[in-house]
């Protein structure tokens, strides 16, 4: 496999991780919540795809989009809004609790065994570009990452809701004192993070075709690690962290001897620990618009 081939693989895996990291980093930036239930937004969407198998695929994606956005808004309205002023560690524990609860409700409804769905098998076909065989899903992952991060950056920097979001992030009390409806701004942030989750769901399910009620957990862990590497709360940092973890994972996949492959994640997390020992503030120390005190 050529270097270029590896680069494309790293970019596509990294893109998926970057989207997850941005979804987590956005909510953290706005309300200081490390949302471990984020993986469940990804997971419940997969089961909507399972149930809507047979639908024309754009309708299936719309169904997932509507369900997951409502699901995320409900989690904010019913759970996180109730503990809005609690300290960060309380928020984190609450999100852990919510995460476990959703997983086990899903076990009750769908069982804990792996379910499979044949969603959009066409995008797994490879295309040949200049001697490289590239899976369609890889190209989609890269394109989706570039498109969504660009749109999100424009939205945050140039729209009214965008600067309101930055204001709530910097000083929630003063934002309310100038008339910002912070609950609405936070709801928008949850909706955006849900859209990112849906993108991850669609790409992930199209690629693997399988799901369990627990598959969101490992993605959340990787996304969370990517946000820590990037510098908690910095969105460009989250994207960079995601790509970095993706790259390390892809390289390890190639260079590790087969009998060590099952321990790939251990190597990934070891490299994270090493990185944090060297640079505890993350790659991009938050002096950006998303700094939290």
């Amino acid at each position: 496999m050529s270097f270029l081939q590896m680069l494309i693989d790293a970019a596509s895996v990294g893109g998926l991780y970057a989207l997850t990291a941005i979804g987590i980093g956005l909510i953290f930036g706005v309300i200081g919540l490390v949302n471990f239930a984020y993986g469940e937004y990804i997971m419940v969407g997969a089961y909507v795809l399972l149930l809507s198998a047979g639908l024309y695929w754009p309708f299936a994606i719309c169904a997932v989009l509507i369900f997951v956005v409502l699901f995320a808004l409900a989690s904010d309205f019913l759970v996180f809004r109730q503990v809005r002023r609690a300290p960060p560690e309380t928020l984190m524990i609450v999100s852990f609790g919510l995460s476990f609860m959703i997983q086990h409700v899903w076990v009750v409804m769908f069982g804990s065994l792996t379910r499979t769905v044949n969603f959009l098998p066409a995008i797994n076909h490879s295309v040949e570009i200049g001697g490289l065989r590239i899976a369609g899903v890889s190209l989609l992952q890269i394109a989706a990452t570039v498109l969504l991060t660009t749109v999100l950056a424009l939205f945050i920097n140039y729209t009214r809701i965008g600067y309101q979001m930055r204001a709530v992030s910097e000083n929630p009390r003063m934002a309310r004192l100038v008339g910002v409806n912070s609950n609405r701004v936070i709801a928008v942030a949850f909706a955006i993070s849900a859209v990112l989750a849906v993108t991850v769901t669609v790409l992930f399910v199209a690629q693997t075709g399988s799901m369990t009620p627990f598959f969101g957990v490992s993605l959340t862990m990787i996304g969370f690690v990517a946000t820590v590497i990037g510098g908690m709360g910095s969105l460009p940092g989250c994207a960079l962290g995601g790509f970095l973890v993706g790259t390390v994972t892809t390289i390890l996949q190639m260079v590790l001897p087969p009998h060590l492959q099952p321990f790939r994640e251990a190597f990934v997390f070891t490299s994270v620990i090493l990185m944090l020992l060297v640079r505890p503030q993350g790659l991009i120390a938050v002096r950006s618009a998303w700094e939290r005190v």
């Binding site: 009214r160 600067y163 309101q164 930055r166 204001a167 910097e170 000083n171 009390r173 003063m174 934002a175 309310r176 004192l177 100038v178 008339g179 910002v180 409806n181 912070s182 950006s288 618009a289 700094e291």
Partner: protein
Amino acid sequence: MTPHLLIDQAVVTYGAVRALNQISIHAAKGETVALIGPNGAGKSSLLLAIAGVVPLRSGAMRLDGRDLAGQEPEQRVGLGISLVPETRDVFKKLSTHENLLIGASRRRLSRAQILADADRIYALFPRLAERHAHMAGFLSGGEQQMLAIGRALMACPGLLMLDEPSLGLAPVVTDAVYAAIAALRDQGTTILLVEQNAARAFSVCDRAYLIQAGQVIEEGRAEALSARGSVETVLFGYADAGKEMTQ
């Protein structure tokens, strides 16, 4: 006639500390009222309670006869209450221009109307116009104060509350800020002004309350209060202190 703002027997506590102890004040429409008193007298707590970020333990607050109980801070902005806090709290990572625009969050206006309003603020504080693209965190203290006032004005408040607007400012900047306050008063905005600099406050206000330990000690027209030496008594403990300090 019902007063524009009526605070009736308001009590605010922080834990065991009573910041406001059954305080009652009022302001007529278009009136400029100063709240004067030493540190910790409860002036800032009163403004924060009116803005809705500090809850009342008991008592009532009315704006144009309407009970403010249960109104969230952002809703009170919609009712016309704007606060310029002592700490200014400009959004440091937003540009000067965005800080102004965000002040109009509660108003249903077209973008063109909001920009026209922002231009009016730039006319009031030309310094801000020069700095409109800068991050507010890079502005000087005086510029941040102007921006905090401008941001509050973008909400088109009927009641503007200013907490120590001259604090830490160079005299020439204080002059600019007070010129703006006088202009707003002349436009008919009701102003509630907290100041330690009593002479400054008296130069613009119609009426003043002297506040100590969360209660009103004395109330009256600015000239009457300064003639009686009440301010010095409240601020320094005895009547001639102010004169001695100026000697």
